[in-house]
């Protein structure tokens, strides 16, 4: 693969697909979009197979000085690789999920999704500060249109909220980036990751980046756009939002906040912990009382993302690796859960939990897969959710046992609201005749849920496949932040063995 610009190619394919879709008829637009995303998935597999674990930190580098002030500079490390794999994997499923349910303006819909894919890959591959910003922000436009045009009843409010919230968060980051580029004299991200900013300035820079990433993540209390956007977006839009877009915030923390501002990160770690603890408990409780399935899963996303943030700011390997695994796992699981909601929504056109019931009787296959993803969301051992949450909590336990204990309740509360949801939807009596008459999964739907079930189980049983590519990058990050590492309150040290020779002697006397 030497010299072949595979990263640019992965961005070019969906871009071309988007342009063609814009002018294509409905049925051909669907096929073109599916073909483009599958080609990208194939390229993603090639990327994974060509990625040399333990090789250079930055691989597949490309650099063309195309623009004034910044350049077209791409490259990935293990962290970016996994997130790219997640994105290219979810995209064909997004297209599949909207195969039948989207009937109006199909060409534009598919074009928006393909554009989104291109921008997401851009975010994860950009090695130039401003190139990153452009991709990061540009995603607002297609997402605004996806929610606004193809969303539900209250879509306009949701689209505005999504756009303005995330824009306000991001513009402050732009000012911080301008300052950094001016101070460091470079826009190269790897260089900046090793550049030591003045700790006094770091504080402000960290806050500016936090403003952006916290909204994207989303963290409590700026999470309120998420339930609105999720509920109003079409199924595939929700999969995309939960599966990939939320990961941009976590990626931002890993790529920018932690390595570029380690001192400030340590200083503000408590802010993150407090917000995350509130989020875990508060949003879990809110999820418990939702009557709308999508809203419930949206709130559960906020709770899961809080586990990601506590893990990230644990400043140790377990925490960082755990956060990455939670992000990947959440990408598959929440995507799958939204898909499960979408499948029954397509049949009954309601997301009210009380309108369903006893689906395990008439839709046994559906109930099986829904159960699997519910368990993965809860964090049952053997599924991906367990690995990530366990590692994250182990990581943060070394920093603060209290934070770990309180965040750990998220797992219990998660079990509560997810199992409660599952009981109401799948078990019990078939209260509603129309719900009882729904047919089970068809071939297209089975293909999608099976595709999602494979990585969930794989990651749960053998997480090494996902840990290996990012191991050295996480180690580098850990070494970078080590100097600001906070002292933990619960570090177990093996005690020195004391020789008890006197005891016998004294006892004898």
């Amino acid at each position: 693969m030497n010299g072949f610009p595979i990263l640019s190619a992965m961005m070019l394919v969906p871009l071309l697909g988007a342009v063609v879709c814009l002018f294509a008829s409905a049925s051909s637009a669907r096929k073109i979009a599916l073909a483009a995303t599958l080609v990208d998935f194939a390229l993603g597999l090639v990327l994974w197979s060509q990625y040399r674990i333990g090789g250079d930190q930055w691989q597949f580098r490309e650099s063309v000085a195309l623009f004034q002030g910044f350049s077209w500079k791409l490259g990935i490390d293990g962290i970016a690789l996994l997130l790219i794999e997640l994105s290219v994997f979810l995209m064909p499923i997004c297209i599949g999920a909207s195969w039948k349910s989207v009937e109006k303006r199909v060409g534009e819909y598919m074009a928006a999704f393909l554009l989104m894919e291109m921008l997401i890959i851009g975010v994860f591959t950009a090695q130039d500060l401003f190139l990153f910003y452009i991709f990061f922000e540009a995603g607002l436009i297609p997402m605004y249109l996806i929610i606004g045009v193809w969303g539900g009843a209250n879509r306009i409010y949701a689209s505005y909220k999504f756009f303005l919230y995330t824009l306000l968060g991001s513009v402050l980051m732009l000012i911080a980036m301008l300052w950094m580029a001016n101070d460091a004299g470079t826009t190269d991200i790897p260089t900046l990751m090793a550049y030591d900013f003045d700790p006094a300035a770091q504080k402000w820079l960290w806050l500016a980046f936090f403003a952006s990433f916290a909204v994207k993540m989303p963290m409590w209390p700026v999470h309120t756009w998420l339930p609105d956007a999720h509920v109003q977006a079409p199924t595939a839009g929700s999969v995309l939002l939960a599966g990939v877009l939320l990961k941009m915030g976590g990626y931002g923390f890993i790529r920018f906040s932690l390595p570029m501002f380690p001192e400030a990160s340590a200083q503000f770690a408590w802010l993150i912990f407090v917000l995350s603890m509130v989020a875990v408990i508060y949003t879990s409780l809110v999820a418990l009382v939702q009557s709308d399935m999508k809203k419930l899963i949206a709130y559960s996303s906020v709770a899961h993302m809080a586990i990601v943030t506590v893990g990230l700011f644990a400043f140790n390997r377990q925490g960082l690796e755990g956060s990455m695994i939670v992000m990947l796992s959440h990408g598959f699981v929440s995507g799958a859960l939204f898909l499960c909601v979408g499948i029954i929504y397509d049949r009954l056109h309601t997301r009210e939990i009380s309108r369903y019931g006893g689906l395990s009787i008439n839709m046994p296959r559906y109930a099986l897969f829904f159960m699997l993803f519910t368990m993965a969301s809860v964090g049952l051992p053997g599924t991906s959710g367990f690995v990530g949450e366990l590692l994250s909590l182990m990581g943060v336990y070394q920093v603060s046992s209290w934070v770990a204990a309180i965040s750990g309740t998220g797992v219990i509360l998660g079990a509560a609201y997810m199992l409660y949801l599952y009981r109401r939807v799948a078990f019990g009596d078939q209260k509603n005749a129309d719900a009882a008459a729904m047919p089970d999964l068809d071939a297209r739907e089975i293909a999608m849920v099976v595709a999602l079930a494979i990585p969930v189980l794989w990651m749960g049983v053998y997480p090494e496949s996902f840990l290996a590519p990012m191991r050295s990058d996480i180690a580098a990050l850990e070494a970078r932040v080590a100097r600001a590492k906070p002292a933990g309150d619960a570090r177990f040290l093996a005690g020195k063995p004391t020789i008890q020779t006197h005891a016998e002697h004294e006892g004898a006397e």
Binding site: Y133, V149, R155, L174, I175, L178
Partner: protein, 487 residues
């Protein structure tokens, strides 16, 4: 003085003035039947002038060689850059005119002639290095512009726009003249170099008053808050091709003039006017954004949007560095492209009788009836809002970069946060076009010239524009260097 050299330097102005006079005669003899011919001839003359201007920009002309008429004019790379933008904008407003005025049965041969004379005045404005030549250029532009605003004589709104523009423009000129007279009184000279030299050791209170008045007069011309009130009314009332002209060419000219006055004449005492500019910039951004929210007419919306944009451009001036000046020039180029695209799109919004549609609510469902047009308007709106990857972002990026480099971080932070307010009303237009159900309006056919211009301008503000950043930056840097007399 070597007259050959002088005539070569002012060749563009000669072409425009002679062409204007000649075409006026053609108009007088040929009548309105010849108006289309005259329009095309005027566009051709603008193109010739533009070609004559290019060498000065490419060679980065500056220094003593560029001074003309004993220091009245400076034909340097900065002037050349501004002139190219002005000619392009004037050409666009000429090209779109026949189709519009034919519909209203009001195409008159004077229109292109007036635009040519206004353009000539603007050329003098951007080259002026003396208060006297500055005023001559400004009035030459303004007098033509007053007539243009009232060009649809039978339309009440147009007549009102002309009158309003005239009265307020005259007031602004008065304020400017008063400030200039004070400057002359305290500095003892009207030449920019002389004023610069007289103020190097400091400014007394009288001079500060003078600076304030001069900047207030110029703020009227660039429609910066708090001297912006005429803008929405005039933009709404004037015929749309004229609005396109007002929003682009004279804005560039007045902004370039303001840069020369502030950075050259008053450049020795930056701190005196920096606060004024910072206030005007932030006030323009915020008032422009808030004012636009309640608008239901798309021309008024674009008027507020232009006030908003002026605020962003002024942030570059507040930086008072060569990088800031280059950033302003870059922004102006992008602004011209966005304005042309925006108003040409407005021109294309016609119902089946060919009558203009200006109410934003009537755009509902445009994305289904006229997909390309809706896509272009959406691109303009996102670009004006400064959302990447559209090219409007680049303009904001460079001015904020200049502000951060100059240490004005609070200004940059407030300005960029306020840009989110602006995003709200740009989104509203997109929302109406894409999210709302169609109202069953029939849309009329568009002129091919309009379509071509819209396509070109939209391509310029599309992400493809980033490929031009290197070239744009090199010319803007040359122009800014000439402004600062740097080698």
């Amino acid at each position: 003085m070597d007259w050959g050299h002088v005539l070569r330097l002012i060749a563009p102005e000669q072409v425009l003035s002679l062409a204007g006079l000649a075409l006026l005669l053609v108009a007088a003899w040929g009548g309105d039947k010849a108006s289309r011919l005259i329009t095309w001839a005027a566009v051709a003359m603008l193109a010739v002038s533009a070609v004559l201007v290019v060498p000065a920009l490419c060679s980065g002309a500056e220094g003593a060689d560029t001074l003309l008429f004993y220091g009245q004019l400076r034909v340097d790379a900065f002037a050349a850059y501004a002139k190219l933008l002005i000619y392009a904008a004037a050409g666009a407003s000429l090209l779109v005119a026949p189709a519009f005025f034919d519909q209203a049965k009001a195409m008159r041969a004077e229109y292109p002639v007036l635009v040519l004379f206004a353009t000539l005045g603007m050329g003098i404005m951007v080259s002026a290095t003396d208060l006297i030549s500055l005023y001559i250029g400004l009035e030459m532009n303004s007098l033509a512009a007053y007539v243009l605003a009232a060009f649809l004589r039978t339309d009440e709104r147009s007549a009102e726009a002309g009158l309003k523009y005239f009265v307020l423009g005259a007031l602004a000129s008065g304020i400017l003249l008063f400030g200039m007279s004070l400057v002359y009184g305290f500095a003892g000279t009207t030449s920019f170099d002389g004023i610069h030299a007289a103020t190097t050791s400091g400014m007394n209170a009288g001079m500060i008053v003078a600076v304030t008045f001069v900047l207030a007069g110029l703020a009227f011309k660039i429609s910066a808050v708090p001297f912006h009130m005429w803008t929405p009314d005039v933009y709404e009332g004037a015929p749309t091709p004229v609005t396109l002209f007002f929003a682009s060419a004279p804005k560039v000219a007045a902004m370039a003039l303001t840069m020369r006055v502030a950075l050259d004449a008053f450049g020795a005492q930056v701190h005196v006017w920096q606060q004024i500019v910072i206030f005007a910039a932030l006030a323009s951004i915020i008032v422009g954004a808030l004012g636009a929210i309640g608008q239901s007419n798309i021309k008024r919306l674009l008027a507020y949007s232009s006030i908003n944009n002026v605020g962003f451009i002024l942030i570059g001036l507040a930086a008072a560095t060569p990088a800031g000046a280059a950033a302003m020039l870059t922004y102006l180029a992008i602004y011209v492209a966005m304005t042309v695209a925006g108003f040409v799109a407005v021109l294309m919004l016609k119902d089946e009788n060919g009558d203009p549609v200006e109410a934003i609510a009537d755009l509902a469902g445009l994305s289904r009836e006229r997909r390309v047009l809706a896509l272009c308007i959406a691109a303009v709106m996102f670009s004006l809002a400064g959302i990447p990857p559209l090219f409007g972002f680049w303009g904001k990026f460079v001015v904020f970069q200049a502000a951060v480099q100059a240490g004005l971080i609070p200004l940059a932070a407030i300005g960029i946060a306020a840009s989110v307010i602006g995003a709200f009303y740009y989104l509203k237009v997109v929302k109406v076009m894409y999210f709302d159900e169609p109202v069953g309006k029939a849309w009329g056919k568009s002129d091919w010239v309009h379509q071509a211009l819209l396509l070109i301008a939209t391509l310029a503000i599309s992400p493809l524009g980033y490929l031009a950043t290197k070239c744009l930056a090199s010319y803007a840097d040359k122009a800014a260097a000439a402004l600062f007399h740097l080698v």
